[in-house]
């Protein structure tokens, strides 16, 4: 059992999302940064799609009512147990009655904490993911609040980590080198979208040459951008079309927004492009105030980059499985 002492800003139960129901209007939801989310699970020997906690913008404070093996990935929220920093991207064994505190992120914007065994809550339409906007899934369809208690699935296998320890915790001497890094220039690559060709050459040029800033009006549904306004769609009306994670949508106010996990299944605004899947995780970790530039790529390029991300992830997950077999616990 874990207890939420302080909920942070947007802390919710997430997994790979609720697939198979979009045709009747259910948004997919699910973890925003899929790679960090899956890694957090693999680090504690869960299947990669187990339910974890996701926190955005400001981290929670969590009390462990029993000994627990955890892993923390994603943005760096300076996690502490008492005054000891909790190392990230590795399995950590925390003691009974420990309290872990997360703060504001110094790098990245979204964090994940996984628990060996996974969170023990029922599936809703084959997923444990919380859809905060529509109020279903997760814990009573809402973000977590102070006092919430969550059970962790019982596990048969005992574990011990003797590699490194301090008074508050034991942790593995190794870690996965996938920490989120700040970049000087945030280039976001995209494929042309269904309305891209409605722009004339000079509008296209302007879009590709301008920088946009991620605003604080950003949540699990969409990140709102600010930059040079795109006004040519102001009075246009479009038929509702299916959206995707990373859709670059231009509502009538002319400021683009990027649709994310809790996007609506269909949308009737102009769609300039689709951020390529290998840039999704990087994009969602950019905090409000970050400046981005869009670069258009071909489908061939997007698929090559997706393949290379997939190979990289497979390599890490395979290495973790080998570790687990020989000296993980």
């Amino acid at each position: 059992m874990i207890e939420i002492i302080n909920s942070g800003a947007i802390t919710s139960i997430q997994d790979m999302g609720r697939w198979g129901y979009q045709h009747i209007g259910f948004s997919v939801s699910g973890a925003m940064d899929k790679k960090s989310y899956k890694l957090s699970n693999l680090l504690v020997n869960n299947c990669e799609s187990a339910a974890t906690l996701e926190f955005i913008g400001l981290g929670p404070v969590i009390k462990f009512n029993k000994k627990c093996l955890i892993a923390i990935t994603g943005g760096n929220f300076n996690p502490l147990i008492k005054s000891s920093p909790v190392p990230m991207y590795r399995p950590v064994l925390v003691l009974k009655n420990s309290v872990i505190k997360f703060f504001s992120p110094v790098i990245g914007f979204i964090g994940y904490i996984s628990f060996y065994g996974g969170l023990d809550i029922p599936n809703f339409l084959s997923s444990k993911s919380t859809s905060i906007n529509f109020g279903f899934g997760g814990l009573n369809g809402r973000k977590l609040k102070k006092g919430d208690k969550l059970a962790i699935k019982k596990i048969q296998k005992t574990f011990y980590l003797t590699k490194k320890s301090n008074n508050e915790m034991n942790y593995a001497s190794w870690y996965v080198n996938e920490k989120i890094k700040k970049k000087k220039v945030n280039v976001i690559r995209f494929l042309p979208g269904i309305h891209w060709d409605l722009l004339n050459e000079s509008d296209k040029d302007t879009f590709l040459k301008s920088s946009f800033v991620i605003t604080s009006k950003s949540n699990r549904m969409a990140y709102k951008l600010k930059g040079k306004k795109i006004n040519i769609f102001n009075n246009a009306s479009f038929e509702s079309e299916v959206t995707n994670f990373g859709s670059i949508q231009v509502p009538p106010d002319g400021d683009p927004m990027i649709l994310l996990s809790e996007r609506q299944v269909t949308g009737g605004f102009a769609r300039l492009g689709e951020i390529i899947s290998s840039d999704h995780d990087f994009f969602v970790q950019l905090s409000p105030g970050s400046k981005i530039n869009f670069v258009m790529v071909s489908l061939d390029c997007a698929e090559k980059l997706a393949l290379s991300s997939e190979l990289n992830f497979k390599y890490i997950s395979h290495s973790l499985k080998v570790k687990e077999k020989y000296d993980f616990y």
Partner: protein, 236 residues
């Protein structure tokens, strides 16, 4: 019906978009065609690891798991899927005249909850009585789902009661609220924010979240609304 031709486009690098080439189909026929293609492709959904197959009024979107294709040694999933799925699109039931299911929805248009009849009447210059008459006399078809879970777009509304969405959203629209916006009418499936103009309320729940497949509206279904009074509503 003539067999339509179609083409594919990409929607990012993990979804593909299928559109019908011909422009001369009626809206209702186009919806029928798109949903028949969907039926054909559902048969191979698991085989091809399609995550979702979603119809709208003018396209079909297939989400696929590109990691699965990469693991199977296919480095260009889009091209592979396009090349391989054409053989499954046979419009198997296109010429079989299916008895279209129909449903009648009771609506309390008056004096029970807040509605926007007065505002619509003022804006469009149509009397409240006429708005109700027009809304109940029209034969509708379920076009698509979208916007929110269980939210079905039902159309087309009569040209005389077409009104754009409100400029601002109400924080909570009650479930069962029957509303209109542009060429569509809809029933709010649960309490949620909304910006459509509300005509009245139905006592019928359009979807049960625990069993979403048991929804009352199927795409292509014929819909009519009829007026009920307050006591009929309460005793429904």
């Amino acid at each position: 019906m003539v067999k339509p031709s179609y083409f594919f486009d990409f929607l990012g690098d993990n979804a593909l978009l299928l559109r019908i080439k011909e422009k001369n189909f009626s809206k209702v026929d186009l919806i029928a065609i798109i949903n028949k293609i969907r039926e054909d492709l559902l048969k191979v959904k698991n085989q091809y690891k399609f995550l979702d197959i979603i119809p709208t009024t003018n396209s079909l979107v297939i989400y696929y798991d590109n990691a699965y294709y990469f693991q199977s040694g296919i480095s260009k999933p889009f091209e592979y899927i396009v090349r391989n799925i054409k053989k499954y699109i046979v419009f198997s039931s296109l010429d079989v005249k299916k008895e279209n299911k129909s449903i009648e929805i009771p609506v309390l248009y008056h004096d029970f909850i807040n509605n926007d009849l007065k505002e619509i009447s003022d804006k469009l210059g149509v009397t409240i009585e006429d708005i109700i008459k027009i809304h109940t006399n029209t034969h509708y078809t379920v076009h698509m789902y979208g916007f929110a879970p269980g939210f079905a777009y039902i159309g087309d509304t009569d040209i005389r009661i077409r009104i754009p969405r409100k400029d601002s959203h109400l924080p909570i629209v009650r479930w069962g609220s029957v509303a209109i916006a542009n060429e569509y009418t809809a029933i709010y499936p649960f309490d949620m924010p909304g910006g459509w103009y509300i005509l009245g309320r139905t006592p019928i729940r359009s979807i049960d979240y625990k069993k979403p497949e048991k929804k009352i509206f199927e795409i292509g279904m014929k819909v009519k609304f009829f007026s009920i009074n307050r006591s009929e509503f309460l005793n429904y």
